[in-house]
């Protein structure tokens, strides 16, 4: 058997209230109480949690029916049906603004009362369902957006949404940073797997935060290798400077972490600047990636770096020589491309652009 719907009557004329109660009981509803004032209605609404409130518009208390209904709507989400002898347009409009479940003009027939109540209850339930679905939908959409941002850069997502595809793009000059850990294999062999992955998770999460602050693009991590780019999407003239400052901050972070950590991590960093092609390939496990000689040379720079050092190529040096003191290290032969110079970055000559912003 279906549960009886509970109704609260707010009506200041006692005889009408008694009469209403009788009719409602006959129609199969449960009347929880009847009260004559808006203030009392608020208390009863909270205590009794009725399914619906029948509300006279003209009440003797401080609050009239419309004001009371408004408060009830804000606080308890209970549908209200107005009862009124007044039919002036202004009152009607006011009642409509508070989105009432409906209104009944006095004197009313039993049938009209019944259908007004049923309609109000029905509307309330389906509208609640609709709201609930809408909320779920919004939540799901937000989660999806977050997920998507884990896979692709924001600009690429935008392009994907606008055009349904991502066009590969050529960049004349960007900077690429590779880092990995000196002696990682030995560390791997010493640490229990769970500890190793936790450590990497902590470090890479911290790196991710740094990268975000410098507005650089993380491409991916590959085992213990961490790969980022600077100058994608918005072409920046200072992409090389920014990426070096970010690398310095990554080294600083590790230095601090090592003081209180059992495992002493030594980060090797390598940077190169040059042209790349960027895009997305494959159907599964795809990511945004970059291709080109410049990428390979950046990886070679990292291979030839040392723990705690940032090794940059001649092309990166040309872009940053006014911003950093660097130490010339000699030449590295690059397969098919002749030789490239290598420099260790020593110290900044200029202020960190991100820190300037923070000030």
């Amino acid at each position: 058997m279906k549960r009886k719907n509970k109704i609260l009557i707010v009506e200041d004329e006692y005889i009408i209230a008694i009469d209403l109660k009788k009719i409602l009981v006959k129609l199969g509803y449960e009347v929880t109480s009847f009260v004559g004032k808006g203030e009392e209605a608020l208390i009863k609404a909270e205590q009794e949690k009725p399914d619906l409130i029948l509300m006279d518009i003209m009440l003797h208390g401080k609050l009239n029916g419309i004001q009371t209904a408004e408060l009830i709507k804000q606080k308890f989400e209970i549908p209200v049906v107005y009862l009124t002898a007044l039919i002036d347009e202004e009152t009607l409009q006011k009642a409509k603004i508070t989105e009432p479940g409906g209104y009944l003009l006095k004197p009313f027939e039993e049938k009209a009362l019944h259908s007004a109540i049923e309609l109000a209850l029905y509307k309330f339930i389906v509208e609640k369902q609709l709201k609930e679905k809408t909320r779920e939908l919004e939540e799901e959409k937000t989660n999806n957006d977050k997920l998507l941002h884990h896979i692709l850069p924001a600009d690429v997502i935008y392009e994907l949404k606008m055009n349904g595809m991502v066009d590969p793009r050529h960049y004349d000059s960007i900077s690429i940073l590779f880092t990995d850990f000196e002696g990682f294999s030995q560390i791997t062999n010493q640490l229990p797997p769970a500890v190793l992955v936790d450590e990497l998770n902590e470090i890479f999460s911290a790196f991710d935060t740094i990268i975000e602050r410098y507005e650089l693009e993380k491409l991916k991590s590959i085992g213990d290798t961490y790969m980022i780019c600077s100058g994608l999407f918005e072409e920046q003239d200072n992409h090389a400077v920014r990426i070096i400052f970010a690398a310095m901050e990554m080294l600083n972070y590790l230095e601090v972490k090592n003081k209180s950590s059992k495992v002493k991590w030594k980060l090797k960093a390598g940077i190169n600047s040059g042209p790349v092609v960027a895009g997305v390939v494959g159907t599964n496990k795809f990511t945004y990636d970059v291709w080109g000689d410049a990428v390979n040379i950046a990886s070679r720079m990292e291979n030839s770096s040392k723990g705690g050092e940032i090794n940059i190529s001649g092309s990166t040096f040309a872009l940053v020589k006014d911003s950093f003191y660097c130490e010339y290290r000699g030449k590295l032969s690059v397969k098919g491309k002749g030789e490239t110079e290598m420099y260790f970055v020593k110290e900044a000559k200029v202020k960190n652009p991100v820190e300037i912003l923070d000030d």
């Binding site: 509307k123 496990k285 795809f286």
Partner: protein, 354 residues
């Protein structure tokens, strides 16, 4: 004022039909037409696509109003309000099954008719909205699932859904494949960027379906390198066999592709089997990844591989020697005087299932 509501009346007694039409017009509705039979009412509804059909339950026809309403509501997605002189319970029960949007019992007054129609329109509208939201929600959920499966293997998606996180795990025995294109830098330097990405996309998409077919895991691509694991995150016994088979198929695919393709790609493929740690690290752009000596050795196998062929380490060889003819290629120096034997896969010893 809203757009005029357009209504079709299905009523077999013409005097009543005219009367109803007049009443409706007085109420401000637009009566598009009246039908005498169920069939006519369906045809009219199909042609005019009204906002609502007012339907007598008993019609001058073999087809009852209820049957006609069923078609109008289910196929044409138009709300129907029943008109009936019968307070006959059974008929009303029958009508309720077809989910009507309302009833009006004859004789009716203007007000009852008005509120029944408004209620039906409201119910219809809100039901439509609810259906739409539900559909959108389903679509978003499918999208979410697809995204999750793009980032993680299915087993890991299950783990995330059940526990909300991913625990790193050690796999005592799994196989890893690395591939890389011979002379990639050289070839790609003469290509237009779009062309290069289109080529890679085409090849990797085909690799993706080969990997999927063999039920092993693509881990990621790194530039022109493609990385695959077998035996994780779900542990299996035949991981080396599956990975070798997939690698052979990838090479076969490329050889075939080269016949008609402008660019001839030659690829190295190297496999090693051993202990692997797998998990997820970082807070952005994270992927399911693997760590350990096994990863480095697999990579070394690939770098020392032979273009167009598949090479495996001794560890993998021992797992697959019964299924493939192999030849010993010599020993490779791994690190600190550690040497590992390398084998070339020659051919399958068994008939491939078609």
């Amino acid at each position: 004022m809203d757009q005029e509501t357009r209504i079709i009346v299905a009523e077999d007694e013409s005097i009543i039909a005219i009367d109803i039409a007049k009443t409706l017009e007085n109420l401000g509705y637009n009566v598009l037409g009246t039908a005498r039979t169920g069939k006519d009412s369906i045809n009219l509804a199909r042609i005019f696509k009204p906002d609502l059909v007012l339907m007598d339950i008993i019609l001058d026809d073999k087809m009852s109003g209820i049957e006609a309403a069923e078609i109008i509501m289910n196929e044409l997605n138009i709300p129907v309000v029943y008109l009936t002189a019968l307070a006959d319970d059974e008929t009303i029960q029958n009508a309720k099954i077809t989910e009507p949007f309302g009833f009006v019992i004859k004789p009716f007054d203007e007000r009852t008719l008005h509120s029944a129609i408004e209620m039906a329109l409201y119910k219809y509208k809100i039901n439509q909205q609810l259906k739409e939201r539900t559909k959108e929600l389903e679509e978003e959920k499918i999208r979410a699932n697809r995204l999750l499966h793009n980032i993680f293997p299915s087993e890991i998606v299950k783990e995330i859904k059940a526990t909300g996180k991913i625990k790193p795990k050690e796999f005592p025995m799994a196989s890893l494949l690395f591939t890389d294109f011979q002379r990639f830098t050289e070839i790609s330097s003469c290509m237009h960027p779009q062309e290069l990405i289109t080529e890679l996309n085409d090849i990797f998409k085909n690799f993706d379906s080969i990997i999927e077919k063999h039920k092993i895991e693509k881990l990621k691509t790194i530039g022109d390198s493609y990385m695959v694991a077998g035996g994780l995150p779900e542990e299996t016994n035949d991981h080396a066999f599956k990975v070798v088979n997939a690698a052979i198929e990838m090479q076969d695919y490329l050889q075939n592709r080269n016949i008609n393709s402008k660019y001839k790609w030659e690829m190295r493929a190297g496999i090693h089997s051993g202990c692997i740690v797998a998990g997820v690290v970082g807070k952005n752009k994270f992927t399911y990844d693997v760590w350990g000596d096994t990863v480095n050795i697999a990579n070394i196998m690939e770098r020392n591989g032979i273009p167009g062929r598949v090479v495996v380490s001794a560890a993998s060889y021992n797992l697959i020697r019964d299924c493939f003819d192999c030849s010993h290629l010599g020993n490779i120096n791994i690190s600190n005087n550690r040497e590992i034997a390398m084998y070339l896969i020659d051919k399958r010893k068994y008939e491939e299932k078609k």
